[in-house]
């Protein structure tokens, strides 16, 4: 339930915030929602950490392995998008996507 809320808050932010920096933050929140979902599902099946030797009663290790990769990928995407945000800010002196698009359209014509 909480995880679903986190994901939806992220999606709402991506959709409704005009500030591009806040959009990136929302992207990060939605990403965390997905990660928590996987980890939570994996943790249902057991109690202890999946370290070699503890064969009994351990959590499902596969979602954890997958989410490690997802976290890394997510960090790359967030870092790159922050670079783009910075470049856009230098270029247009604003973070509001509506203003940026209006200016760009004028520039194009």
């Amino acid at each position: 339930m909480l995880i679903g809320t986190i994901f939806l808050v992220g999606l709402w932010g991506i959709m409704n915030k005009a500030n591009i920096f806040k959009k990136v933050i929302a992207l990060s929140i939605a990403n965390s929602g997905i990660i928590l979902l996987f980890i939570y599902y994996g943790s249902i099946s057991g109690e202890t950490a999946p370290i070699e030797g503890t064969l009994k009663n351990m959590v499902d290790p596969l979602p954890q392995a997958l989410m490690l990769t997802t976290i890394v990928v997510g960090i790359c995407v967030i870092a790159l998008s922050l670079v783009l945000v910075y470049r856009l800010y230098v270029e247009f002196k604003t973070l509001d996507i509506r203003v940026i698009e209006k200016k760009a359209r004028k520039l194009h014509e």
Binding site: V77, S81, E91
Partner: protein, 557 residues
């Protein structure tokens, strides 16, 4: 044969990327290292050539990475699908990369991104499980964001940012689909999922499996640019550097389409065909109307990419036995002629310094060879015999026989001709007075004048367009053999008189449509359509509309 050679398809481009990074460190030998990175394509080509014959007979190679067996480890597979798609990659990207190498503007950094992109694409087509497909998509995405914004123009930055937000949101839903599948079935490897779905009738019909399929489709469809998700494509393709536009529209959207086909077919998503058919038809026609109204040369081509993807999707949705072959054949041909068009038109834009097609004219005298190649590409996309667009459109016609959506595609075909009549003025000499005026304006940007390597690349592409048109029957037969491991049981006579005559009304209607568009009322309508280009907010709204429609198809089924 030792199956471990498959891994070299992935490793060679990765080494190429590393080599390009060396070029970044040792500035003196930058071009040498760029050349090395482009030539790392010989690895995949050799491996694929070795695998060609066994794969054609229906053998499937698989290699478990790191020695972990299939259901849990990562494994690479080469079957007919994967072979065809990776052959497309290793045919086109080296050509486009050579073109970029000939143009001295692009440094080692550029080739690093291109090779990383290639690795991601091979990863997507060769992988045997869903999660590795996700990783491959993200590798592709990150290098594409950099490549789109490579020139650092403000509009390129915005296009890149928009694409980043949209496709990352799409990929979240892809991950969510993976989660649903893992929860229901406990495996992620595509063949295992397919077996589980087909063996137990009970699991297969739960809503969460269908929802998972819909979410996976949405995640990939953002990359493939069908109609509610197409919004990122025109800007991204129009403002990227020219070789990158060729690469994106020639190869990248095809690769995500192949992944979509694989997922839909393996997961028993045949109930989606009807929906995909209509989405494809609508995509084809609305994108071509968008293309007709553009006055920006590269943006016009970008809209045509969406429209041709609509063709490919529609014929895949038609679902008759020849349809998949027709769709792959058209995807292959579109990759050839669209890269050719983007390279020639990109050169025209670069040389003249204008993007507006009404400001460029009569470049024929300056770069005649590129003019000739441009016309070969234009005739191909219009479906004029004997070029390859004609061949695959004949196959599409027979693949879609009897389907009501074919009417949409037929209208699209003559609107395509109309918009290329409009575009071809950049190479054709205009009338005398106009020519005099344009000569004064047109000062050529010598930095973009094509060198030897670029001319050769464009020549090769034009030659391939002509060749795959003339030998269309043989190539379609080969593709069919690869996909179904059986000979195509009926061959279409391509060059019969009535087939040739069937093109005529389309040409006449196309020219008529061109007259209408260039009339004053047509121009008013075009500028109205041009003003419709969606902003960020409506991009997201369109995305959610698409998501909901996919989910409701899965729900209603």
């Amino acid at each position: 044969m030792n199956e471990s050679i498959i891994i070299w398809i992935l490793l060679f481009p990765l080494f190429g990327a590393a080599a390009a990074l060396f070029g970044k460190i040792f500035k003196v030998a930058e071009r040498f290292f760029s050349l090395v990175s482009v030539f790392s394509f010989t690895g995949p080509v050799i491996v694929l050539a070795q695998l060609c014959l066994p794969v054609m007979e229906g053998k499937v190679f698989s290699y478990a990475l790191g020695g972990w067996p299939a259901p849990y480890g990562i494994n690479l597979m080469v079957d007919g699908f994967a072979w065809v798609s990776s052959a497309l990659i290793s045919l086109l990207i080296p050509l486009i990369a050579l073109f970029a190498l000939g143009n001295r503007k692009y440094g080692a950094q550029f080739f690093f991104c291109v090779m990383l992109l290639t690795t991601g694409m091979y990863c997507v087509v060769l992988t045997g499980d869903l999660f590795t497909m996700f990783v491959g998509f993200e590798i592709i995405a990150i290098s594409v964001y950099i490549l789109i914004a490579y020139e650092g123009t403000s509009i390129g930055l915005i296009a890149s940012f928009k694409y980043l937000i949209l496709s990352t949101t799409g990929i979240f839903f892809f991950l969510f689909g993976i989660f649903l599948i893992y929860r229901e079935l406990g495996v992620l490897s595509i063949p295992d999922i397919s077996i589980l779905l087909k063996s137990e009738g009970g699991i297969r019909n739960t809503y969460s499996i269908h929802l998972a399929l819909a979410f996976l489709c949405v995640g990939i469809s953002v990359r493939t640019a069908f109609i509610p998700f197409h919004t990122w494509l025109p800007e991204a393709h129009a403002y990227a550097p020219h070789p990158v536009s060729a690469l994106l529209s020639g190869v990248l959207i095809k690769i995500s389409f192949f992944a979509l086909v694989r997922i839909v077919l393996q997961f028993g998503g045949t109930y989606m065909s009807e929906f995909l058919l209509w989405v494809g038809g609508l995509t084809a026609i609305s994108a071509v109307i968008g293309a007709l109204s553009q006055s920006d040369a590269k943006r016009l081509l970008a809209y045509h990419s969406i429209s041709q993807m609509g063709y490919i999707l529609a014929v895949f949705g038609a679902g008759s036995p020849i349809a998949l072959t027709a769709s792959f054949f058209h995807a292959f041909n579109h990759a050839l002629f669209k890269s050719l068009l983007f390279l020639t038109v990109g050169t025209a834009v670069g040389v003249s310094g204008f993007r507006n097609i009404y400001k460029i004219s009569s470049l024929w005298h300056k770069i005649p060879f590129f003019g000739l190649s441009f016309f070969i590409g234009a005739l191909s996309i219009c479906g004029i015999p004997p070029f390859n667009g004609f061949a695959s459109k004949v196959y599409i016609t027979s693949g879609m026989a009897g389907s009501p959506a074919y009417g949409l595609l037929w209208i699209t075909s003559f609107l395509t001709i109309a918009s290329f009549v409009k575009l071809s003025r950049i190479y054709l000499p205009g009338n005398r007075a106009e020519q005099g005026r344009s000569q004064r304006i047109l000062t050529l940007v010598s930095e973009y004048l094509p060198g030897k390597v670029e001319t050769i690349v464009v020549g090769v592409l034009a030659f391939l367009c002509l060749g795959s048109g003339i030998f269309g029957v043989q190539i379609a037969g080969f593709l069919h053999q690869m996909l179904y491991h059986s000979a195509l049981n009926y061959t279409l006579p391509l060059f019969r008189v009535e087939k040739l005559l069937s093109v005529l009304p389309a040409i006449l209607l196309g020219i008529a449509a061109f007259r209408i568009v260039t009339s004053s009322r047509g121009k008013a309508i075009s500028s109205w359509i041009k003003a419709l280009s969606p902003d960020m907010h409506s991009v997201m709204i369109l995305f959610f509309i698409g998501l909901l429609s996919f989910a409701s198809i899965a729900y209603l089924r």
